[in-house]
Amino acid sequence: MSIDLEQFHQTFFEESFEGLDEMEKELLDLDMGSADSESINTIFRAAHSIKGGSATFGFTDVAEFTHRMETLLDEMRDGRREVTQEAVNLLLSSVDCLRDLLGAQREHNEPDKENVITLQQQLDDMLKVGSTPPAESSHAAASETRKKEVEEIKETEWLIQFHPHPHMLRTGNEPLRMFNELALLGDLIVKADHSKLPAFCDIAFDECYLSWELTLKGSVKHEQITEIFEWVDDDCDLSIEPVSEVEQHSQKPVKGNGETEKVPQTENKPVEQKGKTERRKSSLSEASSIRVGIDKVDELVNLVGELVITQSMLSQTNEDDSGNQDKLRDGLAQLERNTRELQESVMRIRMLPISFAFNRFPRMVHDLTQKLGKKVELKMSGEQTELDKTVMEKIGDPLVHLVRNSLDHGIEIPEIRLKNGKPEIGVLHLNAYHQGGSIVIEISDDGAGLNAARISSKAKSQGLIDENEVLTKEKIHELIFNPGFSTAETLSDVSGRGVGMDVVKRNIKGLGGSIDVDSEEGKGSTFTIRLPLTLAILDGQLIRVGNETYIIPLISIEETFQVSYELINTIANGTELYRLRDEYIPIVRLHDIFNLQPEHTELTDGLLAVVESDGCKVGLFIDDLLGQQQVVIKGLETNFRRVDGVSGATILGDGTVSLILDVGGLIEFARKRQTKAVA
């Protein structure tokens, strides 16, 4: 019976990538010298699952590579090898390499074979050197240790009696897979006992009738064998006994301390070298599936159940025909509540904890601090705060940029920190929390902070501000979001890659969010990102201009009021200004810029909605305010194209389409028209 394994690939890849993330996380948390055995166990288990899975699916390159890692980890676990920074770094690179290999398998393209071979060689070298404590790991000591190592290792012949219970196959365990793994450990002879096999017509395809007697010869430990059978422990009778012990070095003089040489290396040599740049371009994006907690699904099922009940209640009211208004009203109220809850639950399915975005940072901080010679402690809080998947995907790059910046420009090198009376180790804090209908992400460091003097002199030299202009500290800090603005004296290869804060700001604005900076020289900086929770639904204020209904995102509206005649002012070029308390805000007539026939043309007859975007405030002149409601955002670009001043469309209760205004775009559009009119 052959099963199409392809169908399990997706799950395998997802699990493996999760396993790799976990390995990375644990590796970064390891304390050098005195590593917690539980952590190493976790790493080992993850590696083991990947090895097992990849062997099952025939991804031999992955299996072989993981096997080496596993051996190294195994030595650490048994305390035969000290946990050194060197080993951890190598394992981290190996995790990257495995990601690469698995990614290549998933997208059916070529992995970076050169890198694989280099790393395999490094792993082999490390394994050959043997379990030396760091102090002795010099070359002189190495050969001696190796000799010692060799003496310790015994080649053993194991006799394994493996009698699976009939139901074992149904638990998803495949003996062949286990045998394949055993074969990786040494020379394996398998004898099957088919005496219990019934007559052909009586065979149930999912029962196991066979049992096996296996002989395994090699330098293998008892635990290594039990581990392979660990998943079928309860589903079989198993006995593992040593048959004989042979002094190893009489037979195979140089054999490291394991089975590393069993894996034929020549077969791994790249057959052809494909350019890696080409491969990286692969358009296949991340797996488009979400793993959803069972509680979320349960909630949905419950809600649908309630919806069905409400529906039957309503149809019963309909049949009664006794004109029972109360019952109908109750039913409708219930329906409304159900719908809202259902909507919220469905949205929640797309929500993932922000740890998905944060998880890459421990590794990044680890690598970058080593490169930059800095000492940084990464603190993270609010990782469980949930965020829509699409928002999460798009916020990753801006976050990376900000963290890089903090590490490179923000936090000083230890000597300077000490000189300035700060603790040697800098702190980088990532924090996320919900506030109203948005999520706030803070990236703060206790580094050097922004140098206001340098920023303003740079801005003056670039002509961004006037020579004699005096700006508040906040205004100066905002200058760093200008395109092409960098105050870094030297461009390092960490930052200064041509992507500036302007791109960060643009990306965040593209998500409907905002970014602020707060910094004190010498004390550190905090970047605060505010994002909508989801890109699919927003709270909208319905407004009317003439016969048209538009929607303004509620978040952009500061206030609405009737216009008092005395407060209207005009300046020479025809711009109308409105005095609102102590500031003058320009009036933008929506009907003007949208070429509509309004009901009112006199400012005092209509309403002014003060909208704000990007620190810029205008009073939007409209005919009337209608209700507020949550709207589902639909793109105009799908079938049409982008329209200035409009961010999308939605469908109202009566089935008609209403356009959602893009306040930022609208202000920009109005400004452009104004300058054009003047020119």
């Binding site: 810029i593 070429n595 105009l636 049409f640 200035d644 469309a649 008609t656 389409v657």
Partner: protein, 173 residues
């Protein structure tokens, strides 16, 4: 068994023989008959109110809600400068699937009335003479004669992408 196989063979032959025959849905615009590849037609619906889109040319009537999808509606009569005509009971919206840069778009076109469905062979198509006019020849697939009438076959992908959606920018500014 053998008859089935024969029929199949005949069927295949039939398809091969008619390889270059396509079916066209024709419609009336200002007294002229235009045709579009019937495989592009998703549905035909009556004219209904649309939501206008600000700052777009007159021939973009607006957008409608087609079972949850926002679909732009384009008046071909106005696009082709055939004069304005009051929308009447025969006015329909033909909802078309258009290929644009590798993905499909749904666009509705307003026409005076739908007319007929014809099978027309590719070899019977005559190139349209390049003689100016409001429809550039790049949007025409060709001219065909059906029962002594001339039918103008449109290249709907080109027309709606290049001729309408991409042209808006230049026209508005």
């Amino acid at each position: 068994m053998s008859t089935a196989a024969e029929t199949l063979e005949v069927g295949v032959d039939h398809i091969i023989n008619n390889e270059d025959t396509s079916q066209y849905l024709t419609f009336i615009l200002g007294g002229e008959e235009y045709g579009i590849d019937i495989l592009r037609v998703q549905e035909i619906k009556g004219w209904d109110l649309v939501t206008t889109i600000p700052n777009t040319p007159e021939y973009i009537k607006g957008v409608i809600n087609l079972r949850g999808t926002i679909v732009p509606i384009i008046d071909l009569r106005e696009k082709f400068a055939l004069g304005n005509k009051k929308y009447g009971p025969t006015t329909v919206v033909i909802v078309l699937k258009v290929e644009s840069e590798g993905c499909d778009r749904i666009v509705g076109v307003v026409v005076d009335a739908v007319s007929d469905v014809y099978s027309i062979r590719g070899s019977d198509l005559k190139p349209a003479p390049d003689f100016g006019g409001t429809i550039s020849t790049e949007f025409l697939r060709g001219l065909a004669t059906v029962e002594d009438k001339m039918v103008i076959l449109l290249n709907i992908d080109e027309l709606l992408n290049v001729g309408v959606l991409n042209a808006i920018d230049t026209e508005v500014n």
